[in-house]
């Protein structure tokens, strides 16, 4: 995409409009809209250079409030909370993020679809309710903490404590797919949802290095492609083979993964996966003597 365009006034959305109307104006006094373009495909484009996170998120919210549904943000450099409180609509807002978004990308997010062309920092999808985050790169620590709905796809590796305390209820079932590998404490305290780790960047025969996988796990399931030794998983975890329903879950997620990142589906389709789940829903039931 070439970097030329028109000023905000020519786009459908004007962040100045709607000031002082209801929610979303908590910080309207200080956030001045910067360069806002429509690119040649009609996607609203925001240049995030020099904007604080508060300014950038304010501009994003103002555009969404004014009807924008597809937004691209360029030159993102560490701005936090992108996607937080950004529209909870029937047709989700899609945001393309070019650069490196800051921590808490999509924290408490409910609805939007974020695509990051770059790496993400810590706490991606923190306590996220619904929506989708796709990262064309790696992500830092604590991805999907307490996530309770929606999906996160990370092309490469993730840091420690990914999917910690992820949980599910009813039809809210979060999904995290990691293309590479993870650091320690993957799925710690996990209470629900699905994690799929593909290990695509491991050499043939190389095992995942994460230790304490699923420590304190009491719900949900982790599917791992590639080998892992028994000592690397927590004692609350049982190792099993995926059944046919699991295979369906894995393959439909892998298919989405391959669509996002252009990965060869056949390379993964015939692989063996390992299923990790909790031995008990009550891991600490016998801890107390009343």
């Amino acid at each position: 995409m070439t970097w030329h365009g028109v000023w905000a006034g020519d786009c459908a959305a004007d962040p100045e409009k709607g000031r002082g109307e209801g929610r979303g104006d908590g910080n309207s006094r200080e956030a001045a809209p910067r360069r806002v373009f429509c690119d040649e495909t009609g996607v609203l484009t925001i240049d995030a250079r020099g904007l604080t996170y508060r300014e950038l998120n304010h501009v994003l919210r103002a555009h969404v409030r004014d009807g924008a549904r597809a937004i691209a943000v360029r030159n993102v450099a560490g701005q936090r909370y992108i996607g937080t409180n950004l529209g909870r609509l029937r047709y989700p807002v899609t945001v393309e993020i070019h650069g490196t978004p800051g921590s808490d990308l999509g924290a408490f997010m409910d609805g939007p679809r974020l695509t990051v062309f770059g790496n993400a920092q810590d706490c991606v999808g923190n306590t996220m309710t619904s929506g989708e985050i796709v990262v064309h790169g790696r992500a830092g620590d604590v991805v999907a903490m307490s996530m309770r709905g929606g999906a996160i796809f990370i092309r490469d590796d993730v840091g420690s404590r990914c999917a910690i305390h992820m949980k599910e209820y009813g039809d809210r079932k979060p999904l995290v797919v990691i293309g590479g590998t993870a650091h320690d404490f993957l799925g710690e305290y996990m209470a629900g949802g699905t994690v799929i780790m593909l290990g695509l960047d491991l050499a043939p025969g190389e095992r995942h290095r994460a230790c304490f996988v699923g420590t304190g796990m009491h719900g949900g399931r982790i599917f791992i492609r590639g080998s892992i030794e028994a000592y690397q998983v927590g004692r609350e975890v049982e190792l099993a083979e995926p059944d046919s329903r699991d295979q369906e879950t894995i393959m439909s997620a892998v298919e989405r993964f391959c669509t996002f990142f252009g990965t060869d589906f056949d390379k993964i389709a015939n692989s063996e996966f390992l299923r990790l789940h909790a031995r008990s829903h009550r891991p600490y039931g016998r801890l107390y003597g009343a």
């Binding site: 996170y53 924290a107 604590v142 009491h218 891991p283 003597g289």
Partner: protein, 501 residues
């Protein structure tokens, strides 16, 4: 294994009064009373009695008296009966000894060593019956300086969000699951009627109680139970729970058998699963991380709501509170070691943390010295028994207080400390729906409102006696306090002079 645990209470049944109506059998949730078909008499399993006085309160003929059991081991100042009992429990179970409610050990209660002032001639007292008396309190950060618009229509300095309460008495965090749905409804209803706030605790916010939003503080704790965008946006204040006075530094486990369908829906976890709150919040390993969560919550709520951070009162509370304020919190909540709990390891409840009086005084002083006291309100919590405790806390620097135990006592609680069993015969900390139905939310709410109103009247009388007509004027005004029977170091920490000086 035969149990060596001896009965803690004895049940005396006056045969001349007992009409064998069997009400006691129905009322006791611990299975103490039974009817002996063979002998056609009432019988008791007194080893099961927890001393909650449900049966004696509801005995229509007042035939029952519950007493602490008279049996004694050989007196021993070191090996007190409680130590022996706990050892026996652990020898039989190999587990952690649990307890409910706050620390019951005889540590010094500083409220009982602080005396309030009254004015006499030079600053005449005020009669609250005839003159206006202001208890309204605003919670939230204050601007660094007051900017006044130069010209009409020009914007003033932006104000940070504030929440007002009619009385500086808030209802403390008690989660659904730890207390019954009826008890939580009663507390929220009471908060609405009394013009104050009620905290949901960390167990989510039942859908049927969302209507009380303007009077609700929601908690975001390590388990993140029931936290979603609606939860945050429908409340008046969002509170990050770092620690709790009854169990500083540890998390909490709501056992799977208490996770009923309703609790599961509210917490957004599958029914029957343990609800585990990890000890730390795993996105907070530093003050910088705390700041990140504070601003995540502000972003999630459009900077429209104050964000509070609650910590247990511990040794370095003042330094921690300073960090919390600098991290961007609008309210600091301090929970002293006498604060209640639905369940805590007894060893932690009774041995970790410090009294709220000392923590509050040191935090207020530290924030003042650093020039950041205006940036956050302080809410003190943990064992407030009466209106004098509340007023003394405000004189020590609190903006408002949380009361939990006192509100539960108003609803019927007798401090039997069995909350963690889920068998509360009073329907308060009950997980069994049959037991929970015993609490009528309207009646319970009325009792709590009455308590708050009674305390408010007393506070106005005491303020009037000091010649003060607005609670703002007493806030942090330690000259209205004097210590009695305290050591020099205690007076110094409290920042008060000894009585008579």
């Amino acid at each position: 294994m035969k149990s060596y645990l001896l009965p803690q209470f004895t049940v005396e049944r006056d045969a001349s009064r007992c009409s064998v109506c069997r009400a006691c059998i129905k009322e006791c949730s611990f299975g103490v009373h039974y009817y002996d078909e063979k002998r056609r008499t009432m019988g008791t399993h007194e080893e099961r009695c927890v001393g909650c006085h449900r049966c004696s309160t509801f005995c229509p003929t007042r035939a029952l008296t519950i007493r602490t059991h008279p049996a004694k081991f050989r007196p021993n100042a070191n090996w007190r009966p409680e130590c022996i009992l706990d050892i026996r429990k652990q020898a039989e179970t190999g587990g952690i000894v649990l307890a409910g409610m706050g620390c019951d050990k005889p540590y010094r209660i500083y409220w009982d060593h602080l005396l309030l002032n009254a004015s006499q001639v030079t600053n005449p007292s005020i009669d609250p019956l005839r003159e206006p008396m202001e208890l309204r309190t605003h919670l939230g950060a204050r601007p660094d300086r007051l900017a006044v618009a130069d010209e009409p229509g020009a914007p003033d300095a932006p104000l940070t969000p504030q929440v007002s309460v009619e009385v500086p008495i808030l209802l403390a965090a008690m989660s659904f699951g730890a207390i019954s749905a009826q008890a939580q409804r009663a507390l929220m209803q009471a908060a609405q009627e009394a013009g104050t706030l009620c905290n949901t605790g960390e167990g989510g916010w039942p859908a049927e109680l969302r209507g009380f939003g303007r009077h609700v503080i929601v908690q975001c704790a390590s388990g993140r139970f029931g936290v979603d965008a609606d939860y945050l946006n429908e409340a008046a204040i969002v509170e990050i729970k770092i620690g709790q006075g009854a169990k500083p530094g540890i998390g909490g486990h709501l056992p799977g058998e208490k996770v009923t369908e309703a609790v599961a829906r509210t917490r957004m976890i599958p029914p029957g699963t343990d609800a585990l709150s990890p000890a730390p919040q795993h996105d907070i390993y530093s003050i910088e991380d705390l700041s990140m969560l504070i601003y995540a919550l502000k972003e999630a709520t459009n900077y429209e709501k104050p964000v509070a951070v609650k910590i247990a009162a511990v040794h370095n509370a003042a330094a921690i509170a300073s960090g919390i304020v600098r991290a961007g919190a609008d309210i600091v909540v301090l929970d002293g070691f006498r604060g209640g709990t639905g369940a805590a390891p007894k060893i932690i409840r009774d041995n970790v943390g410090i009294p709220i009086e000392l923590a509050l005084a040191s935090v207020d002083a530290r924030l003042r010295v650093e020039g950041i006291r205006h940036r956050a309100s302080i809410i003190a919590s943990g064992g407030f028994r009466n209106s004098a405790d509340v007023l003394k806390a405000i004189a020590l620097g609190a903006d408002a207080v949380y009361v939990g135990t006192a509100a539960l006592i108003a609803m019927g609680c007798t401090l039997c400390q069995q909350c963690y069993t889920g068998k509360c015969a009073w329907g308060i900390a009950a997980s069994d729906p049959k037991l929970a139905e015993r609490l009528d939310p309207n009646v319970a709410a009325r009792r709590v409102v009455n308590l708050i109103n009674g305390w408010s009247l007393e506070i106005k009388e005491m303020l009037g006696g000091m010649g003060i007509n607005a609670i703002e004027s007493l806030r942090g005004n330690r000259l209205h306090l004097r210590g009695i029977g305290l050591e020099d170091w205690e007076l110094e920490v409290l920042g008060v002079r000894g009585a008579g000086t």
